[in-house]
Point group: none
DNA sequence: TGTAAACAAGGTTAATTAAGGTTAATGAGG
DNA sequence: CCTCATTAACCTTAATTAACCTTGTTTACA
C-alpha cells in the first residue's frame, strides 16, 4: 500500500483530506507541525509527502530540505494558501515535484499523487480465501481452516498479522511494518504485544511443520511454507 | 437526488466537503455567508441544510431560525467549533437538528445526513424484501421470515440494526456507525444497549448456522451469510 | 584472539484490563 | 398492563502488560 506523509496544521481540513485518502486505500500518517512531520518521516518511510507551507515550528520548505537530505528523490507535493508566484518558485527550487493552491480539489490532489508515484505497489489482497501449506485462511471471516478440517476463529489482530505474513510470504516482513499497520505506532512501549501474537500464531500453525514464522532478529519475520 | 444546502465560509474545507458529498451522489449548493445561504435556500428548496455557526453577515443560528419560519421541519445539521458547542445546545433544542463538532469526520457527516433524512421519512430501508441465508426480511413491515416459514415481528431498533447489517453484509460494519445512526451518539454511557440487541438478533438468526454476526472487538461486526 | 560478561531482541506464560455477551430487572409510553 | 427500550449485574473473551526466560550479538579484557 502507498504510504503518504501529510503535514497539515488545519485540523478541520486535515481530517477530511486524511479520511478521503484513506478511503482510496492510501496509508496515511499525519503530523501537525514541521518538527513532528520530520520525526514522522524518519519513522514511517513514506512513498510520498504532502506538505503544507505555513506550519508551526518548521515551515514546509525547510521540512522538505531536511527530508531531501536523507531521501533526495522523495516526491513532495506542497500545499499553500499563498498563491503568489514567489512561493511557487521557491517550492520548485527546493526540488518539490508539485504544488497545489488552497482551496484545492481532492481529485486534483489524487491525480498529482498518482502522477508522482513511480512505484506500482502491490494490490491489497481482498481474496476470499488463501491457501498455504495444509491451511486455508478466510480473511473476510477471520477463519483458519486447519489440516484436520477444523475451523479456528481468529481475533482481529491475529487475522491482521496473518494477512500481512501471507502478503509477504517467502520474503521478509519488517516488524516495524506490522506495528505501524496494526497499531499505528512502532514505539517499544506498545510492542511486546506483537511477540505474544506471534507466539499464538505459531501455536495455531504448528499442525503443519512446513509452515514456519522465522525470526530475523532486529529486522522482522520470514514466513515460509 | 437528495439536495443539500451547505453554508460554509472556510473555502478550503468547503471545497473538499462539497466535492466529497457530490461524489456520493448528493446534489449540493454552497453559500459562503448567512445572507447568501438564505437566498440559496429560498431558490433551491433543499432536503437538508448543513450550516456552519460562525458565518459572515448572518450566523448559522439566525439563518436556521429564518429557514424554520417557512419550513419548520427542515432537517438541519450545525457545524461548530468545540468551544461554542455548549452555547448552541443551551438555546436550541428543536427536533430535526444535529450537531457536529469541527474537526469532523466525513463519514460521520454522511451518517448524520442519512440518519436525519430517514428520520424525517420514517423508513428503515426502502427495499421491499431482502433474502439472506434461509431468511427473508421485510423492512417496511419489520418482519423476519424464518426458515420454518413463521414470521417474527421485529421492533424498530431490531429492524434498524438488521438493515444496517444487511447493507454491510460480508464486510465490516463499525459499531460507531450503528450507534450514530440509531442513537445519534456513540458514547459508552449510551451503549450496552446495542449489545443487548445483537444478542437478540443472534437468537432470531440461529436457525441458519451459516448466518453469523461475527464480533470484531474494538471495531464492530462482520455479518456473514 | 578467545572467552565471558553485558546487552539487546525476542519468546513464553500468566495476570490484568477492557470490550463485549447474556440474562433479568426496571422504566416509559401506548 | 403490554411492549419495547434501557439499565444493571454478572460472565466471557480479546487485547494488553508484566515478569521472567532464551538466544544472538557486542564489547572488554586476559
Amino acid at each position: 500500500m502507498t504510504k503518504i506523509l501529510y503535514v497539515e496544521d488545519e485540523p478541520a481540513l486535515g481530517k477530511i483530506v486524511k479520511e478521503s485518502l484513506q478511503s482510496r486505500n492510501y496509508e496515511i500518517t499525519m503530523a501537525e507541525d514541521g518538527l513532528a512531520g520530520l520525526r514522522a518521516f524518519e519513522s514511517m518511510q513514506p512513498d510520498i509527502c504532502i506538505l503544507d507551507i505555513m506550519l508551526p515550528k518548521m515551515d514546509g520548505y525547510t521540512l522538505a530540505e531536511e527530508i531531501r537530505k536523507t531521501q533526495p528523490k522523495m516526491p513532495i507535493i506542497f500545499l499553500t494558501a499563498k498563491s503568489q508566484l514567489n512561493d511557487v518558485l521557491k517550492g520548485f527550487k527546493v526540488g518539490g515535484n508539485d504544488y497545489l493552491k488552497k482551496p484545492f480539489s481532492l481529485e486534483e490532489l489524487i491525480i498529482r499523487i498518482e502522477n508522482l508515484l513511480t512505484l506500482t505497489s502491490g494490490q491489497v489482497s481482498n481474496a476470499q480465501e488463501i491457501n498455504f501449506g495444509k491451511f486455508k485462511f478466510l480473511p473476510l471471516r477471520y477463519e483458519l481452516k486447519c489440516p484436520d478440517n477444523t475451523f479456528k476463529r481468529l481475533s482481529h489482530k491475529e487475522a491482521g498479522i496473518l494477512s500481512l505474513l501471507l502478503k509477504h510470504a517467502n520474503s521478509t516482513l519488517e516488524r516495524k511494518e506490522i506495528l505501524l499497520k496494526l497499531w499505528d505506532d512502532d514505539s517499544y512501549f506498545n510492542s511486546r504485544n506483537l511477540d505474544v501474537y506471534i507466539t499464538k500464531l505459531r501455536d495455531y500453525l504448528k499442525a503443519d511443520p512446513n509452515v514456519e514464522i522465522i525470526t530475523i532478529k532486529g529486522i522482522g519475520y520470514y514466513f515460509s511454507y
